[in-house]
C-alpha cells in the first residue's frame, strides 16, 4: 500500500503548502527520483491559434478576422481574460480557471521549424524533432525516454490509441492501448502465440508490450472501458473522454509509464469555422472538458503533471472567403498542469500588420516549439541537455531550452 500512503501524503502536502511547488519537491525527496508525468496532446489538422488565443487588443486583429473576430472580455461572447492583450476563447472555461490558478502557460506565435503548409509534412517535423520532414523515422519523445533518470522502466511511455504516433516511435519500448469490446485471450492461446512469435522481432515485442499494458490496466479498476457511441459530436467527446481516462489510468500507476501521448483531430477549419460559437468552438470545448477530466482523474498525480498541447502549424491571419481559415504558420500552444509555473502568456508578439505577417498572410512565429519541448524535458523530466541538443533534437544547439516552465 505504499502508493496509497504516498498519495495521501502528497494531498496533505499540497493542502498544507497551498501550492504545487513544495509538493513536487517533497515527492522528489520521498521517492528518490522525480515522479513527474508528462502528457503530450497533438492537435492534428492545424489549430487556429488566433481563434484559440485571440489578440483582441491588436489593432489589426478585428479587420483580419471580420465576422469571426472575438470581442474583449466582458462583451457578449467575449474572450476570457489573460493579460489585457490576449484572451482565451470563451470555450476554454477550465483553461481560464487554470490560468487564474497559475496552472497554465499560454504560448502565442510559436511554430516548429517547418515552414511549408502541408499537414502531413508539418506533423512529421513536429514529431520527428529534426528540421525536415521524413529525415528521421523515430520521434523526439521516444528518443528522450531513453534518457529519463533512474532505472529504465520496461514501459516508460504509452500511446493512447491502437497505433503509436511518430513522436513516440523509436528504440525505446512503448506501448499503445485502446479499449476493447472483445473478450481477452485465454492464457494457453497467448502462451502458444508468444512461442509462435518468438522468432519475429517485431511481433514478439509488440505482443509483449500489449500484454504488459493490459496487465497495468487490469490492476486499475477505475479505468473505464465502455465503448464510445459511434456518431456525431457526442461520439467525438466520448472518444476523447475515453482517451483521457485511459491516459490518467496509466499515469496514476505507481510503476506505470511516466509519459503518455494521444491526439485529437478536427482542427482543419477551412470553412464556417465559427466565432464564440460554432464548429471550432465545439472542438475547443471538448478539448477543455477533456483537460478538466484529466485533472480530476489524475487526482494527486495532477500536481506532478505537465500537459502540453501542440499543433503542426497555424492558419491564415485573415479569414478566407468561406468564413474559415487556410493553412498558415505561427500558432498557439498550451502547457497545463499542477507542476506548471503558470499564469503567464509567453509571446514575443510580432503583430498582425501586413508587413509583420509571414509571407504577407500568416502569423509570424517568434518562438521555436523545440525550446518549449527542451525546457519541459530537461527541467520537468530530467533529461540531460546534451542529449536534447544532439540526439533528441538534432542540430538544435542554437535553440535554447525555455526555462522555468515547471516547478521542478
Amino acid at each position: 500500500m505504499a502508493s496509497l500512503k504516498r498519495r495521501q501524503f502528497l494531498k496533505l502536502g499540497a493542502l498544507a503548502a497551498g501550492g504545487a511547488f513544495l509538493t513536487t519537491r517533497l515527492a522528489f525527496a520521498g521517492n528518490g527520483g522525480p515522479p513527474t508525468r508528462f502528457v503530450l496532446v497533438i492537435l492534428r489538422g492545424a489549430l487556429d491559434g488566433l481563434a484559440a488565443v485571440p489578440p483582441y487588443a491588436d489593432p489589426d486583429y478585428a479587420a483580419l478576422r471580420r465576422e469571426v473576430a472575438l470581442h474583449e472580455p466582458g462583451a457578449n461572447g467575449g474572450v476570457l481574460p489573460l493579460n489585457g492583450f490576449f484572451g482565451l476563447h470563451p470555450s476554454f472555461g477550465f483553461l481560464g480557471q487554470a490560468y487564474a490558478n497559475r496552472e497554465l502557460v499560454v504560448f502565442q506565435a510559436v511554430a516548429s521549424p517547418y515552414r511549408e503548409r502541408s499537414h502531413f509534412d508539418g506533423q512529421d517535423v513536429l514529431e520527428n524533432g529534426s528540421l525536415r520532414p521524413h529525415a528521421l523515422q523515430s520521434g523526439w519523445l521516444n528518443r528522450a525516454l531513453a534518457h529519463l533518470p533512474g532505472a529504465p522502466a520496461r514501459e516508460p511511455g504509452v500511446a493512447l490509441g491502437q497505433n503509436v504516433p511518430l513522436v513516440m516511435r523509436g528504440p525505446a519500448e512503448v506501448s499503445s492501448w485502446s479499449p476493447s469490446k472483445m473478450t481477452a485471450l485465454d492464457e494457453d492461446t497467448l502462451a502458444r502465440l508468444t512461442d509462435l512469435y518468438a522468432h519475429d522481432p517485431l511481433l514478439s515485442v509488440r505482443l509483449a508490450d500489449a500484454t504488459a499494458a493490459d496487465a497495468l490496466v487490469a490492476g486499475d479498476s477505475q479505468m473505464t472501458m465502455a465503448a464510445a457511441p459511434a456518431q456525431g459530436a457526442a461520439a467525438y467527446a466520448a472518444r476523447y473522454a475515453q482517451l483521457v481516462k485511459a491516459a490518467a489510468g496509466f499515469l496514476r500507476q505507481e510503476n506505470g509509464p511516466r509519459v503518455a501521448v494521444f491526439d485529437t483531430t478536427g482542427w482543419d477549419t477551412h470553412a464556417n469555422e465559427g466565432g464564440a460559437e460554432g464548429q471550432l468552438a465545439g472542438r475547443l470545448k471538448a478539448l477543455d472538458g477533456g483537460l478538466a477530466m484529466l485533472k480530476q482523474e489524475l487526482g494527486p498525480v495532477w500536481s506532478q503533471t505537465a500537459v502540453l498541447m501542440v499543433t503542426e502549424f497555424g492558419r491564415t491571419a485573415a479569414v478566407n472567403g468561406t468564413r474559415g481559415t487556410d493553412h498558415g504558420t505561427g500558432t498557439a500552444a498550451f502547457l497545463c498542469g499542477g507542476a506548471v509555473a503558470g499564469g503567464r502568456v509567453i509571446a514575443d508578439w510580432p503583430g498582425l500588420s501586413a508587413r509583420a505577417l509571414y509571407q504577407g498572410r500568416d502569423l509570424n512565429p517568434t518562438l521555436d516549439l523545440r525550446a518549449v519541448f527542451k525546457g519541459i524535458l530537461s527541467e520537468h523530466m530530467g533529461v540531460p541537455e546534451r542529449a536534447l541538443d544532439a540526439e533528441v533534437f538534432p542540430d538544435s544547439g542554437a535553440v535554447r531550452a525555455l526555462r522555468g516552465l515547471t516547478h521542478a
Partner: protein
C-alpha cells in the same frame, strides 16, 4: 534469385490480390503474372443494387433536408429540442446509405474473381480520399467510389483525376463548392452592400490536388501556385445548395461563371487563358502529365505493392511507364506486375486492418451478410471503411498499423473468429492452401498441436505469415 511457382502464386494472391481463397493457389498455377494481367482485361465491375442510389439523388435529398431544418431554425418555429431531433434526422438519413454502400463494397472485395483490380480500385479511392467524418460524406463516399473511381481505374490517369476532382463529394469534402473568386461578378456585386460578409477563395482543394493527388509535396509548386490554382477552380460547385449556390441541378456538379475569378492565370509557370470551366480542366491535364506526378504515383504504387521503402529502380521504371504511356493506367499496372522487385521477397508488407479482414473472409470463405454487422471488424480493428480521417488517406507503412494495441485487437478478433467457426474448419489443411510455401514449420506445428479446432484456426490467422502479405 527466382522463387518457386508456388511462392509466386502466393504473392499474386496475397500481395497483389486480397488474400487467397481455398483453391486459388492451385488455379493460379505457374503463371502468376498472367493471372494478374488477365484481371486487367474487360471493363471494371460495377457495384449495383436497389439501395445504391446515384450521388446526386442522395445529395439533393440531404441538401433539401438541411434546407428545411435551417429554414425552420431561422423562422423561429423550431424549439431547441426539436432542432436536435431534426439534426438527428439528417444522421438517420445518411447512415443507412453508408451501411448499404460499405457492405456492398466489402462483399465485392470478398467475392471478386479480380482481386488485383479491386485492390487497385481501393488504392485509388484512398489516393483521392474523402472521409466520412465530415457532414454528408457518409452518404457520398460510396457513390463517389462507384461514380468517379471505379469506371476510370482502367483508363487514363487524367480522366480519373478530372472525375475525382469534379465530383460533388470531393468539391464538398475539400470546400471548393463555396469558393468564390475575389473579383468575380458575385463578389463585386455583393461587396457593395453594407456589412456584407467577405467573399473569396478557399484554397483547400487546390492545395490537396497539388500535394496529395498529383505532384506530391516537394513536387515543385509554391504557395502562389496554390492560391492561383484555387482561383482557377472557383466556380466548380454543386447545384441545389442555399443562397447564391442554389441554381443548377440539385446534387450535381455545376460550373458557376458568376463565382469564377476572371482572367488569365499562371500556374507552375504556364499561362492559362480564361476559358471558364475549361481553365481548371487545362491545369488538371497538365498536372496529370507532370513528371513529379508520375514519380509520386509510382512511389505510392511501389510502396503499396513492393515494400514500405520501395527500391528507387522499381519506382523509376513504373514512373517511366506512366510518362511514356501518357498515364495509361493498365500499362502502369502491367509494368508493376513485371517489376522484379515485387517478386523478390514474400511478406514484405504488414497487412492493414482492411487487408487482414478481407484475407480472413476470403480464406475462410465467409459470407458477407446484409446489415451493419459485417462492418464491425473494420471499426474494432481501427479502419472504418472510407474514414481515413484526412484527405491524405490511410497511411501505407507497417509502423502506421503495427502498434501493440492494434496487434492485440487483431489477435482477439482472430480468436473470436476461430471460436465462432473453428469447429467447421480444418486449419491444418487450410494453411498451405492460403499461404503456400510461406507457411512456416513453426506455424504448421502450432496448428497441428492446438488443443482444439477453434484454437487451430486462431493460431493460423494470428501467425506472422498471415499478418503480412
Amino acid at each position: 534469385m527466382s522463387l518457386s511457382a508456388d511462392t509466386q502464386a502466393a504473392i499474386a494472391a496475397n500481395r497483389f490480390g486480397l488474400g487467397a481463397r481455398p483453391g486459388d493457389l492451385e488455379a493460379i498455377g505457374s503463371d502468376a503474372r498472367g493471372w494478374l494481367r488477365a484481371q486487367l482485361k474487360g471493363s471494371p465491375p460495377q457495384i449495383a443494387g436497389a439501395d445504391l442510389k446515384p450521388s446526386f439523388t442522395t445529395l439533393a435529398e440531404a441538401l433539401e433536408l438541411r434546407r428545411q431544418i435551417e429554414e425552420r431554425k431561422k423562422s423561429g418555429t423550431l424549439d431547441p429540442a426539436m432542432a436536435e431531433e431534426q439534426q438527428q434526422k439528417l444522421g438517420q438519413f445518411v447512415r443507412p446509405v453508408y451501411v448499404s454502400e460499405a457492405t456492398a463494397r466489402f462483399a465485392l472485395a470478398v467475392g471478386t474473381e479480380r482481386p488485383f483490380l479491386e485492390r487497385l480500385s481501393q488504392f485509388w479511392t484512398n489516393h483521392f480520399a474523402v472521409s466520412i467524418d465530415k457532414q454528408f460524406m457518409p452518404a457520398l463516399a460510396g457513390a463517389f467510389e462507384r461514380e468517379a473511381i471505379r469506371p476510370n481505374v482502367l483508363g487514363r490517369f487524367a480522366d480519373l483525376l478530372l472525375a475525382a476532382e469534379s465530383h460533388p463529394a470531393m468539391l464538398m469534402y475539400l470546400d471548393n463548392f463555396i469558393s468564390v473568386g475575389p473579383d468575380s461578378q458575385a463578389a463585386q456585386r455583393f461587396e457593395r452592400r453594407p456589412n456584407a460578409p467577405h467573399l473569396g477563395i478557399n484554397e483547400n482543394l487546390a492545395r490537396e490536388i497539388l500535394e496529395l493527388h498529383t505532384l506530391g509535396v516537394g513536387g515543385g509548386y509554391t504557395q502562389a501556385d496554390v492560391t492561383t490554382f484555387a482561383q482557377v477552380i472557383t466556380g466548380w460547385s454543386i447545384g441545389g445548395n442555399h443562397g447564391r449556390f442554389q441554381s443548377g441541378e440539385p446534387g450535381r456538379f455545376v460550373f458557376r461563371p458568376g463565382l469564377h475569378q476572371p482572367g488569365a492565370k499562371t500556374v507552375l509557370n504556364t499561362r492559362y487563358p480564361d476559358s471558364g470551366y475549361g481553365q481548371g480542366v487545362a491545369v488538371l491535364n497538365d498536372l496529370a502529365r507532370h513528371p513529379s506526378t508520375a514519380h509520386f504515383i509510382a512511389t505510392k504504387l511501389c510502396r503499396h505493392f513492393i515494400a514500405d521503402e520501395p527500391p528507387a529502380a522499381a519506382v523509376n521504371r513504373v514512373a517511366g511507364a506512366f510518362t511514356a504511356s501518357e498515364g495509361d493506367l493498365p500499362t502502369v499496372y502491367r509494368t508493376l506486375v513485371e517489376t522484379r522487385e515485387a517478386w523478390a521477397a514474400p511478406l514484405t508488407k504488414f497487412k492493414t486492418p482492411a487487408d487482414y479482414i478481407y484475407s480472413v473472409y476470403r480464406g475462410l470463405a465467409l459470407p458477407v451478410e446484409a446489415g451493419k454487422g459485417p462492418l464491425g471488424p473494420f471499426e474494432v480493428l481501427g479502419q472504418r471503411i472510407w474514414q481515413p480521417g484526412s484527405p491524405a488517406g490511410w497511411p501505407d507503412r507497417s509502423a502506421d498499423w503495427d502498434g501493440s494495441s492494434a496487434l492485440l485487437k487483431r489477435i482477439e478478433w482472430a480468436d473470436q473468429t476461430g471460436a465462432r467457426l473453428g469447429s467447421r474448419i480444418d486449419a491444418k489443411a487450410l494453411g498451405p492452401q492460403l499461404l503456400g510455401e510461406n507457411l512456416t514449420d513453426a506455424t504448421r506445428t502450432a496448428v497441428s498441436r492446438a488443443v482444439s479446432a477453434e484454437q487451430a484456426v486462431t493460431l493460423l490467422l494470428a501467425a506472422p505469415e498471415f499478418m503480412r502479405r
